[in-house]
């Protein structure tokens, strides 16, 4: 008789850094490896879920390695963990690897850049609810703004594996070319692949790019780029679903576009969090109550971070 103990779905685990690569300017990709219970818990992690990293004891880069506009904020001591979604999760030989796409913009993420291979990091997760895929959908549209691309890259992989027959198209926007969080220089991509971002192309997903200043792809908001694209296609609304992650104003526009077209839309929300596990009540998201004019607060960490876009009362 085997003495099998049920593995926890989430918990606090020590992960080992296996990679931490600067992919362009302020964008990095951190690779964490979990063993034992951590590998089991994170092996089940879904696209859209997140983890809380304790970065408080990690050293800052030397001052000369910090961009001048960030030196002041870098000095702040940090106490709380920071939430990050995943851009990839893969399990092999009882280990699970989790990749996190991040942007070094504050005291915690600047510290994160100094994590080198072999270093240990305390991680709580996987937390929250990921994107839900209804079985009857034939077309998936992924729409991201800035750093919001991370969990949608993860989702593209999941869809390629679990729903190979579903057509998936990605739309990625940013203010300007250098703020697109993708690894390959876009000039090369634009020449060779016609804006097909490698991060999505590897899962057979075509992509469109927009920048507010027109420095890459469509000139304008990604939501406008998406609307225009949508207007040129005759999609079956009921067969289609949109997944979106990015700034709240962008998500609000996505919710409107989806509602106007009668397309289901799930959005990944962001809030300041303290605990990430549903106890501190910090990360409240105002939500509509179905069939009533009332609103309630749900928790981004526990009830989200992925919500049906129709539910959300966006902060504008």
């Amino acid at each position: 008789m085997t003495n099998e103990v049920s593995k926890p779905n989430k918990g606090m685990f020590d992960a080992v850094v296996f990679a931490n690569k600067q992919i362009r300017q302020r964008f990095y990709r951190l690779g964490l490896e979990f063993s034992g219970d951590g590998a089991a818990a994170f092996g089940k992690a879904k696209a859209g879920q997140f983890a809380e990293l304790d970065l408080s004891s990690i050293a800052l880069p030397p001052t000369e390695g910090i961009a001048e506009d960030l030196r002041d904020v870098a000095e702040r001591k940090i106490l709380l963990r920071r939430p990050f979604s995943f851009c990839d999760v893969s399990s092999r030989k009882e280990k699970t690897r989790v990749d996190i796409l991040y942007c070094a913009v504050g005291p915690a993420t600047l510290r994160m850049t100094t994590l080198s291979a072999g270093k240990s990091v305390s991680v709580i997760g996987p937390l929250g609810n990921g994107f839900q895929m209804p079985a009857d959908k034939k077309m998936v549209l992924l729409v991201s703004g800035g750093m919001g691309a991370g969990p949608l890259i993860h989702l593209a992989k999941t869809l390629a594996t679990d729903y190979p027959k579903v057509e998936v198209i990605a739309f990625a926007g940013a203010k300007t070319k250098t703020e697109l969080p993708f690894e390959r220089p876009l000039d090369e991509i634009s020449q060779q692949l016609g804006f097909s971002l490698h991060e999505f192309a590897r899962y057979g997903v075509e992509s469109e790019v927009a920048t507010d200043d027109g420095s890459a792809g469509y000139e304008g908001l990604i939501t406008d780029c998406f609307s225009k694209w949508l207007g040129q296609r005759s999609l079956s609304a009921k067969d289609t679903i949109i997944y979106s992650c990015g700034p709240e104003k962008m998500l609000a526009r996505m919710a409107k576009i989806a509602e106007d077209k009668g397309i289901d839309c799930q959005v990944s929300m962001e809030r300041m969090m303290a605990c990430g596990i549903g106890v501190c009540q910090s990360c409240a998201v105002k939500c509509r109550v179905e069939g009533s004019s009332e609103t309630i607060y749900k928790l981004c960490c526990k009830d989200g971070p992925v919500f049906d876009s129709k539910e959300i009362v966006f902060k504008l």
Binding site: N9, D54, L80, C280, K315
Partner: protein, 310 residues
């Protein structure tokens, strides 16, 4: 080796296995922490505030980090008494650890409503009277800063609490905390917990606006610990010592050393708050650390340590 050390304490007639609680609002209603710690290993557990009616809480942002601390302005968001009884009490009833329900309200009647309904519940060891929340427009801290109001609310709730232990949670935002402590004690409090958070503000220098939607929030975490230790010692010396009344010390407890500091200052037990957000389950580590400290210092019984400040 650590087994030979007695870290159990007497707390207002309750025998606690150890002197470590988790603070209200940092561990929910116990079920949320199941993946991270065994709640029954604690000396005591304090629930998130319960109010007579459910409260949505404040708009966001509700929290902001500061150097070695954080501000929160949750606004007592909670499920309300009825849902607490239906959904949470059955979970709490299964715990072996003594559970205190943190009670808040806008009026004395609100507090009374909660305490009266719960006073006969076997699952509950006592109440923590929250008269020190800085983040609500009505009630909260306003009850805890005027001695006459402290007397009125404490004596009213004491009657409603019946046999249950009544602990009153004090605000540090007063001229003399001992005056407030004395008012609570003389009105019937069985124990005091101190301190709640400090009213504070963080400003966004880009927008010239406060970061929190509530404008101000309560400062907690390591940043407030030395003040909390001082205030515990002050109240111990000036109010509770002569009466043999216990203090639950809290404010920035993150390590066993922090806990020991509070106990030396005069606390019978300590509560871990903000640190739970960083490391859920750290209270259990603190309990082990206290035992190790006692072994190292050859302290056979932790009671020797309470208020031993030289």
């Amino acid at each position: 080796m650590t087994e030979t050390v007695d870290i159990s304490v007497e707390f207002a007639g309750l025998k606690l296995a150890n002197p470590v609680f988790t603070a209200s609002g940092t561990c929910g209603y116990a079920d949320e922490l199941a993946d991270f710690m065994d709640i029954n290993q604690l000396g005591g557990f304090i629930t998130k505030s319960v109010t007579a009616k459910p409260r949505m809480g404040n708009p966001t942002p509700r929290v902001v980090e500061t150097d070695s601390g954080m501000l929160n302005a949750i606004g007592l968001a909670n499920i309300g008494l009825d849902a607490f009884i239906q959904e949470k009490l059955p979970i709490i009833a299964k715990l072996t650890v003594p559970v205190f329900v943190n009670v808040a309200g806008e009026t004395i009647e609100d507090y009374m409503a909660v305490v009266q309904r719960l006073a006969t519940e076997q699952a509950i060891a006592g109440f923590e009277l929250n008269i020190s929340c800085p983040n609500v427009a009505k009630g909260g801290i306003s009850f805890g800063t005027e001695p006459a109001q402290v007397t009125e609310i404490t004596s009213a709730v004491k009657k409603a609490a019946g046999e249950k232990v009544l602990m009153v949670k004090l605000s540090p935002c007063v001229t003399d905390i001992s005056v407030i402590a004395r008012a609570a004690v003389e009105a019937g409090a069985d124990a005091l917990s101190l301190i709640n958070t400090f009213t504070a503000m963080v400003i966004d220098i880009e927008t010239h606006k406060p970061v929190l939607a509530n404008k101000t929030g309560g400062l907690s975490g390591p940043a407030i610990k030395p003040i909390a230790v001082y205030l515990v010692n002050k109240v111990y010396n000036e109010v509770t010592k002569e009466r043999g009344m216990p203090i639950l010390g809290l404010g920035g407890v993150r390590t066993a050393s922090d806990a020991v500091e509070f106990i030396i200052a005069g606390a019978t037990a300590v509560a871990v708050g903000t640190a739970n957000f960083v490391e859920p389950g750290c209270a259990v580590k603190i309990i082990e650390g206290i035992k190790k400290y006692c072994v190292r210092k050859e302290i056979k019984n932790i009671k020797e340590l309470i208020g031993c400040l030289g």
